[in-house]
Amino acid sequence: MLSIFFVRKGGAEDRTLRLFGLVFCVLGLGALILYGAIGTKQGILSLLGTVFLYVTLTQAWNILGGYGGYLNFGTATFFGVGAYTTAVLFHHYGLSPFLTAPIAGVMAALLGVIVGVPTLRLRGAYFAIVTMIITFAVQIVVLNASITQGPMGIFLPPLKLSPLALERLFFFMFLGLAVVVTLLVYAIENSNFGWALVAVREDEDAAEVIGVKTTRIKYIANAVATFIIGIAGGIFAQRIMYLDPTTAFSFDISLNVVLMAVIGGAGTWQGPLIAAPLILVVADMLRVTFTSEVNRVIFSIVVIVIALYLPHGAMGFMTSLRQKYFKWRNPKTGDEVASA
């Protein structure tokens, strides 16, 4: 059933597995839609809504961070800008965040381009550090700007829906967003654009030499990713109903996204689908049964273990299982199939 995670390309056996994977995804999505429609446990609907939000953010991060290899700690910057765009437009012009979410995406993408031009020339740790610093810089601007109400934050009015209907609404909004973004990332992974990004990740100079327009590729990837993150932030503002600079630009958002990508497997479309629910559901269970701080200890240990033994995350582990499986099924051609 988990064959979707083992498959990339190959022969007849591979196609069968791919079909199983597709069926698994469709059934899983169907089950989620059904639960969203008939489920009445608001806590679970709320948790799943957050899972879909983080799937969206991690998939968006994946485009430049996973496929392109640019370790980005700035997700919170674009998320916060998106959230504040819809909140400010509501506060000053009374426009619903659901209508202005695309504008939030555009604003975040615009900032992404402005920030990306100088920063995407940097590589490795320098890029990571700069993206982190930009979050703090933007947070300070928002904290001191009058249009954003500074530290007072912005209240958005509750929607006139029952609490259950409200949870359902955001469940489906974030589920829809997660599905669309996952399909987009899947398409990127299987496109020339995706291969160009992988080439940048593996060796940027060599990619340039063979004709990949690395700068343009990176700018486009960054703009697409920040656009998606901005939209997610824009909708989040209506969900949380009170926006302040500390929450909207919390470094925890950036850290969680990187954590999910690393644990799930950066540079794969399946990685965020594994890690986001795993981390958020376990964290929620620990929070209400034991203590919150244990979450961080546990996930820190998990990241250390993954960095040491599974550098490609859960997906890397599954891929190695897949290789062993094919080798076992077909000792003569297994290697060939597995590496296809």
Binding site: G150, P245, D284, R287
Partner: protein, 402 residues
């Protein structure tokens, strides 16, 4: 005839069994604990104050159950850790309301977290028992569904100090003020006031004091040298620090390190001089002013016992102001539920607004926005402990002024 008798007997037996079962179900329901839920920032930057709240909550939970619970049912507190994070608190309040289905709801600690939670609580039409934070805007917005036990709201935080200053002879009053404000909703309103009422800026102006420094600082600031240097350079003889716990400690330390001796130094945001960490500052803690809703010397109901509990169990010589507010909200809940004889939110609300409550903060009545009538004591930290220096009727020592 025989069959009639046997049919009648059978019917009577069935009826008796049904009655017994129904009675057992009702009894079982009645004996189910009353759930009172809330969150506290037990980790993160609000953990120190939250720990005081938790200690008071746990103590009350034990004691109320020893007294037979509420309405004859045991009481169970469900307090989650919100990690001092609004988004986490939101998710936990959804859980408390929708999954745990708590009967009564306690507010989280701090305005920062409370602001994010209030819309969720309001959407469930629950009373919000708030011993955790102040906010004039939120009380107004809640339209009486939030019952608060802070004896004064943000615009009145510095009021005790300025009433004290007004009582001093002119030559003892400060001339030049410096204000440092933490960039967060609560401190900003403490400084600016609310809808033209109160606030440190207005109090300074009304007292005829020249404002020479008015600076804000963001969260996580750890170096206050520049701010303190600016106040010192401007010859401010009064420093009002409107912030949270950790930054207040840092500012006190920096003032001492720079050998700066303003005549008046007030931690006019959080009431920090009564937390355990303040006493550990040593000389840097001395002569600092702070407000508090009540003090054990007033001997309000439960206050002396609470103070003893903190000395014995928590090894804290000073009773934190947070503990007083927490105890007060629990006393209000207990008296309201027992007095109204129900958990019905509307009936409780009705009872609360027409009753007087005997609490650790004194005898209190609630105004129509859910806040109690203003009352504040001014503390000054003298020779390693807090003394009440204002108002005169509650004074335990004279203020030390240069």
């Amino acid at each position: 005839m025989k069959s009639l008798k046997s049919a009648g007997l059978r019917a009577a037996l069935i009826a008796a069994a049904a009655l017994l079962t129904a009675n057992a179900v009702v009894q079982a329901q009645e004996k189910q604990p009353i759930l009172i839920g809330g969150t506290l920032g037990l980790t993160g930057f609000l953990s120190e104050g939250s720990a005081d709240y938790k200690a008071v909550y746990d103590r009350w939970n034990d004691e109320v159950n020893k007294r037979g619970g509420l309405l004859g049912r045991p009481v169970k507190l469900v307090i989650y850790n919100d990690e001092s994070t609004p988004a986490v608190a939101q998710s936990l309040y959804s859980r408390l309301l929708d999954q745990d289905k708590v009967d009564l709801l306690l507010a989280p600690f701090s305005t920062f977290v409370g602001g994010a939670v209030l819309p969720i609580v309001q959407s469930h039409n629950k009373l919000f028992f708030n011993g955790g934070f102040v906010s004039m805007a939120m009380f107004t917005n809640a339209k009486g569904s939030m019952i608060g036990t802070y004896m004064y709201q943000e615009p009145d935080y510095p009021r005790g100090l300025f009433e004290f200053i007004k009582s001093l002879p002119a030559d003892k009053r400060p001339k030049r003020a410096a204000i440092f404000t933490y960039q967060s909703p609560f401190p900003i309103v403490v400084r600016d006031g609310y809808n033209g009422y109160g606030g440190a800026l207005r109090f300074v102006k009304e007292a005829g004091i020249e404002l020479v420094v008015n600076e804000q600082f963001p969260a996580n600031t750890t170096d206050f040298n520049a701010l303190v240097q600016k106040a010192k350079g401007a010859n401010a003889d009064m420093v009002l620090h409107i912030g949270q716990l950790n930054d207040s400690l840092q500012v006190a330390r920096t003032i001492q390190q720079q050998d700066y001796k303003p005549a008046f130094f007030c931690t006019c945001g959080s009431p920090v001089t009564s937390i355990a960490a303040w006493a550990k500052l040593g000389a840097a803690a001395e002569r600092a002013f702070s407000g508090t809703p009540a003090w054990p010397t007033q001997k309000h109901p439960g206050l002396v016992e609470l103070s003893e509990f903190f000395k014995k169990e928590r090894k804290q010589d000073t009773l934190p102001a947070y503990a007083i507010v927490a105890q007060t909200i629990l006393q209000v809940i207990e008296q309201a539920v027992n007095g109204a004889g129900t958990l019905d939110q509307e009936k409780l609300r009705e009872y609360i607004y027409k009753s007087e409550f005997k609490t650790a903060s004194g005898n209190i009545r609630f105004q129509e926005n859910g806040t109690p009538v203003y009352s504040q004591l001014l503390l000054q930290f003298q020779n390693g402990k807090n003394e009440v220096v204002f108002p005169a009727k509650d004074k335990t020592a004279d203020a030390i002024l240069p």
